[in-house]
Every structure is written in structure tokens, then in C-alpha cells.
Symmetry: C2
Subunit: 207 residues, 2 copies
């Protein structure tokens, strides 16, 4: 995407431009959608020439992948001392991110294009989806160290559990906020955490 290591000779790239372009991309995507997003418009918003965009990213697809990936890297898993609190915190954080119109349109538009372009789909998985599974792994590990969850007995089972938990959390929150368009209120988050904890914590362990 960007040159592996900064070029040694010649005029250096404007360091501020990358951030400005990615922010402009998310902004434009939110207002205009994938179909309405034009490279010329992004260039004007970012205050650079259109050729500068193509000098740094090879196509619209790659530009949008970068713009969305940058946004989602903000997520963090807190350790608040209980599994329920951790779940509610990360869901709230995720929901807060998804409540920004920039992120909404950007994420969905990208997923949509990815269904047709296998290469883009791979890039989305690598750059956006897989990195976020770290949240589930961190939350599980913390809960296990606190004795809230049993330790893993089988590597394969544990991996499958991480996948299904990730699908459920990400999918449900995304669906509620982006498709149904309902906000994730504290009450809703609490209900959802209860739903998640029941099968995880076993009989009598939830609160």
C-alpha cells in the first residue's frame, strides 16, 4: 500500500495527507454511499490532487479498506474485573464506534463489495475481521484467570468457541445498529450480555 520503507531519495510524501485522505474517505462514504463516492470528491475534501490518491492506493477498493481498518483498530478490551462488565464494555465501545455515520456506511459498503470480489474479501478478513478476534481472546483469557470460565481442554473446541462468540457479538451489534437502525441502549446491552453469559457461565454462575 504505502512503500515498505520510506524512499531514500527524492521529495518525501506529505505525512499529513494519509490521515486527511482516509478521514475524507470515511466522511464522503457516509454522505454519499459506495455508489456515490468519487475519487475526485475525496481528493477535494482532503485538499490534494486526485493523482495523489492513485499514487498511494491502487483503487477505490483498497482506499476504503484502509479507511475502515484504521477506524476499527481503535477498539480495546478492558479488564474491569468481571466477565459481564468486560462484555458490556466492549459491546458499548463497539456500538459507540458504529453509531458514527462514517463508520456505518463505510463498513457495510465495504462488506457488500467484498461479497463479489474474492480478493477484496480476503483483504477485508485480514485487515479488519481477524484482528478484532483479539478482543474475544483477551476477554476469555481474563475470565479464565479469574476462574469465571473453565480452562481450555481442547485446542480445537476453544478455537470454535472463539469463532461463534465473535460471530454472535459482532453480528448482533452490527445487525441492530446498521440494519435495524436501533441504538444500543445500556438496557439492551445488559440484556444481550445476559443472553451471552447464560450458556457460557453455566448454571447459577451468572448475575
Amino acid at each position: 500500500m504505502t512503500p515498505p520503507s520510506g524512499p531514500r531519495k527524492g521529495r518525501p510524501r506529505n505525512a499529513d495527507a494519509d490521515g486527511a485522505i482516509l478521514a475524507a474517505t470515511r466522511e464522503a462514504l457516509a454522505e454519499l454511499g459506495w455508489g456515490g463516492l468519487t475519487m475526485g470528491d475525496v481528493a477535494v475534501r482532503a485538499g490534494v490532487a486526485k493523482t495523489t490518491l492513485y499514487r498511494r492506493w491502487p483503487s477505490k477498493n483498497e482506499l476504503v479498506v484502509a479507511a475502515v481498518a484504521e477506524q476499527l483498530d481503535e477498539l480495546e478490551m478492558a479488564d474491569l474485573g468481571s466477565l459481564r462488565a468486560d462484555i458490556e464494555a466492549v459491546v458499548a465501545q463497539f456500538a459507540s464506534l458504529l453509531s458514527a455515520p462514517e463508520t456505518q456506511a463505510a463498513l457495510l459498503a465495504l462488506f457488500a463489495e467484498a461479497t463479489r470480489d474474492p480478493l477484496l474479501r480476503r483483504r477485508v478478513r485480514e485487515a479488519i475481521i481477524e484482528p478484532q478476534k483479539r478482543l474475544v481472546l483477551a476477554g476469555r483469557a481474563a475470565a479464565q484467570s479469574r476462574g469465571e470460565l473453565p480452562l481450555d481442554t481442547c485446542e480445537e473446541t476453544a478455537s470454535a468457541a472463539v469463532d461463534i462468540i465473535f460471530d454472535t457479538v459482532a453480528g448482533t451489534v452490527v445487525h441492530r445498529m446498521l440494519v435495524s437502525g436501533e441504538p444500543a441502549t445500556p438496557d439492551w446491552i445488559s440484556s444481550f450480555a445476559t443472553l451471552l453469559l447464560a450458556p457460557l457461565a453455566g448454571i447459577g454462575a451468572g448475575t
Copy 2:
């Protein structure tokens, strides 16, 4: 969309064309994505002139809404005698529909465009999302009549429950199949049903 009631005079519309156009739209959307979908291509696939498309739908957006809505109306809630079986059946049905590339690209592309266009979003909610909540309502009613679930005590609570269940089921399945790209195997469906049943059925009722 189509004239409120058939015109009384003049040449009637070709009745077969509507179906052919909608099918061609889904097919083209699957192959080319939202960005690659062209009205001219759809017209060729359907064997009609481009002007015929615009005579029946005012824009690409409206055409795709109609194409996807038609596809999702196929879903039905079976009554198999137990809540678990009903859930697994409807999830499998939903997953089967979403495994078709036509539906995948169509749904996501539409959701993405809907995030920017409030009017389109309303049309999507009315024509696609809300009608499917009937599945949750039917499943709950059947389970209540079998004594598997308690009867509703509060109208408002029941409505919120329907919403959260719908978000969770639709969101998780959509996310797994469309975003992660993993198939919904019988094992996965069974695990997911367990996850859903735990909070619903209370202690000791699941299997």
C-alpha cells in the same frame, strides 16, 4: 412501484418480465456487486430493453429493493413440535437462502446503500426487515402454546424480546455467512440454538 391497479386501456405489460428482471438483477448483483451492476446488463440478461426497466422501477435502488424483498418472502416458520427444532429449522432455512451468492451480494449491497439514503432505509425496513419478524412471533406463539415458554405478562417486554431475538438470530447468521464467509453447518446451527435456548428456556429445560 408497479401501477396501483392495472391500466384499463392500452397494451398490457408483459407479466413474465417482472420475474425475469428481478431474477436477472439478483444474478448480476451476485456476479458483479453493487458497483459493477449495470442496468444495461440486467436488461440483456432479462431479455428486455433498458427502457423497460426504467418504466417499471424509477432507479437502480428501487429495483434492487424489489429483487431482494421477493427473495426473502420465501422464508417460513415450521412447527416441528419443539422450540429447539423450530429454531434450528428456521436458521437452516435462512442460512440456505444466504448461501446463494445472489442473495449475499444483494442483501449487503442494499443494506449499505440504505445507511446513507433514509428513504431507502425506510423502504428496506418496511419491505424486508419487519415482515420477517413474523417468524419470531410465530415461533414464540407455538412454543407458548406447547408450554415451553411462559405466556406474555407485559406487552412491552414481549415486544422488546422479539426485537432482541430477531436481531441476534438474523445478525449472527448474516455476519457468519456474509462477513466471515463460513458456512452454517448443522453442528454450528446446533451450537447456536443451544446458545439461544439457554436464556429462553431457563435452568434444566435445554438439552
